[in-house]
């Protein structure tokens, strides 16, 4: 998977604007990471999410569509998709819960312990659902996410005036740029096919 970007963009945004990223966070964002590690290693050691938060708060996880019960024996490969959620309602919500009493009811889609895979630079797609979008989303965006120019255009266009007004500064490939210029010149500044690294600094 791609581990470098053609263009780097850094935005300084008001922290309330995290909600503008919710559609993107639900669909999933690509992160440059060291792959070949356990899910717990990725979340705790690499992404800096406290272990107690992972244990208590992220109670529903899927690795490539399979429900995870054991955080230390499920391994991240280059190109994996990891979806994270808090506890879910309903019978099926409970069934999906990590290590839950009803886990047997979804045995066919349970992620079974695997052998450790080779470590190396790679990317992982992380999807955030419900409360985790607000709680972990800022952290991932601070760290930097890969996205296509088309995704960036969609994000900034959908965010409209609120994103534009809440943007304090823009740095494009190391050079400061007036915020208005970025929004006004999006089609000329960003190629939809181009892969970008977006970082967000949060204010307030």
């Amino acid at each position: 998977m791609q581990t470098s970007a053609n263009l780097q963009l850094q935005l300084t945004l008001n922290s309330v604007l995290i909600s503008e990223f919710y559609p993107l966070l639900q669909r999933g964002v690509w992160l440059p990471v060291t792959t070949g590690c356990s899910v717990m290693n990725l979340l705790n050691s690499q992404l800096g999410i406290a272990e107690v938060y992972v244990q208590d708060r992220i109670t529903t996880l899927f690795l490539d569509g399979k429900a995870i019960d054991e955080l230390t024996s499920a391994y991240i490969e280059d190109g994996s998709t990891l979806a994270l959620s808090t506890a879910m309602p309903g019978l099926v919500g409970s069934t999906m819960r990590r290590g839950g009493h009803l886990a047997a009811m979804r045995g066919e889609i349970t992620c079974h312990p695997s052998q450790a895979v080779a470590t190396g630079a790679g990317t992982v797609k992380i999807k955030l659902f419900n409360m985790l979008m607000k709680e972990i989303g800022p952290l991932l965006l601070e760290r930097g996410i890969f996205l296509s120019g088309a995704e960036l255009i969609t994000l900034l266009t959908a965010g409209g005036a609120s994103l534009r007004n809440g943007c304090d500064s823009v740095i494009l490939d190391g050079f400061p740029l007036p915020c208005a210029e970025l929004f006004e010149q999006l089609p000329t500044r960003v190629n939809p096919q181009q892969m970008m690294l977006l970082k967000v600094i949060w204010q307030g």
Binding site: G65, P89, G90, L91, A104, M105, G107, N130
Partner: protein, 580 residues
Amino acid sequence: MDKILRINMGASGGPSQSIEKAGEFTALGGRATTSMIVAKEVPPDCHPLGAENKLVIAPGMLSGTTGAMSGRISVGCKSPLTGGIKESNAGGQPAQVMARLGYAAIIIEGKPATDDLYKIHIDKDKVTISVDNSLKLMDNYPLIEKLRKEHGDNAAYMSIGSAGERKMAAASIACTDPELRPSRHCGRGGVGAVMGAKQVKAIIFDDKGCQQRPPKDPDGFKAANRAYVEGIRKHAVSGEGLPAYGTNILTNVLNEAGGYPTRNFKTGFFEGGTNISGETQAELEVKRGGLATHGCHRGCVIQCSGVYNDKDGKFLTKQPEYETVWSHGGHCGIDDLDTIAMLDYLDDNIGVDTIEMGVAIGVAMDGGVIEFGDGEGAIRLVRDEVGKGTPLGRILGNGAAMTGKAFAVERVPVVKGQAIPAYDPRTVQGIGVTYATSTMGADHTAGYAVATNILKVGGDVDPLKPEGQVELSRNLQIATTAIDSTGMCLFIAFPILDQPETFDALLGMLGAFYGTKMTGDDVIALGKKVLNMEREFNKKAGFGAEDDRLPRFFKTEPLPPHNITFAVKDEELDELYNWG
């Protein structure tokens, strides 16, 4: 709740009424009351729309008290959709008001000799049954507006729309919410058609002059209620996830698990899922000046509902539930929330079950009536066909099974004639066991996650063994039947499942209210008793082991992306009711 109101719509000279002592039903409620009365009084082989069927309405054990989450109302009858026994419940205000009026149940029986349409008004002094043919073929929203002008805003209303009058097997009974919108529905199984067959358009409950029901031990009740509310509020599901996003919080997770039935159960992943997720829905509701957090009845502390406004900021419908968003959304290949919200409104207005209606439309799409993803077409089918009672509308309004036959569709997702809801049983095989064996037909709430690990229903289960699927489902169905019998909202399941002290608080509330000590064993015994009665009714109605099956395509068609089939054997399903 010491009395039962019996109304004979077929009495000579016009409907008659009588009051009976509640007897054994004084300290019961919900599904226990409705199923016991139906099992005792309705001939299992009767025609569901005939005079011998009865419509039984019961509040919960703690309805009409200050107890939180106690506002579910149950409706029971022989189902015109499944042909078996049916209990369908809803939120809204009627349970609280009916209980304060002192009724443990209302039994509506017989059938009028004329084609007059009736309304029933109940206050603390009398019951008035009157002809009102001006209400004929009115749908729920305009109907309630009209009734409010006559009966006021302090009443609670139960009503049927045009689908109920037309006796469609997907017809629901609407219950008004605190804002007097007919937005909460006893949806499943065609209970609205039975009310229509009795020619009762509306029941108006007015509790003016009535007090909250007093507990035997007020201090004990107050303390237990406080602990119970604290337990609900501190839990991540009932105190956080549901209030923030409603039940539609499940869309993303089911989709990620590959268990989100898409385009009539062809795949388990919908590419448009995030466009209609609870997270997206909540953001949109707030942006438009609606509400992402709202209670369906007074006394609700979870507040899992909401208010969905249209693009102009005007009320369109209540927050569509997960199952509704799925049935009209992913199941039909539609990823537009405004289209789904409009369909939810139309369903509520016409008075049809949103699950049955959405699944029927998806089946019709599979049969070539319209294309998958055709939102405008789906609206037209509900509004102009079902809503106007055209021949096509009557096919759709009689549910997915009827629609499948009419359009020669092989893949028809029903059990006992009732549409399978929003969780593919190939991905979550345990829920497939419940779909197959429930006395109610396919029903996602029949085997809810209710405290089985605490109650140890039927002993401990090894969740790692495949045969645990049947045992888990059995335990869940017993426990759920018991909770349904208390008339409490099922969403209390999670604080109860995870927090033993919250379960104890619930038992404490029941004990303090009725002056008896209730144990977990009592709860389980009640669940088994009710299930046995329902099972016996269904046997006498003609159901056998062959009806406790999923449609064959679940066994033969692998579901992408995991490519799995339903693997629980028939003989294992047949073991479900062997609990000794």
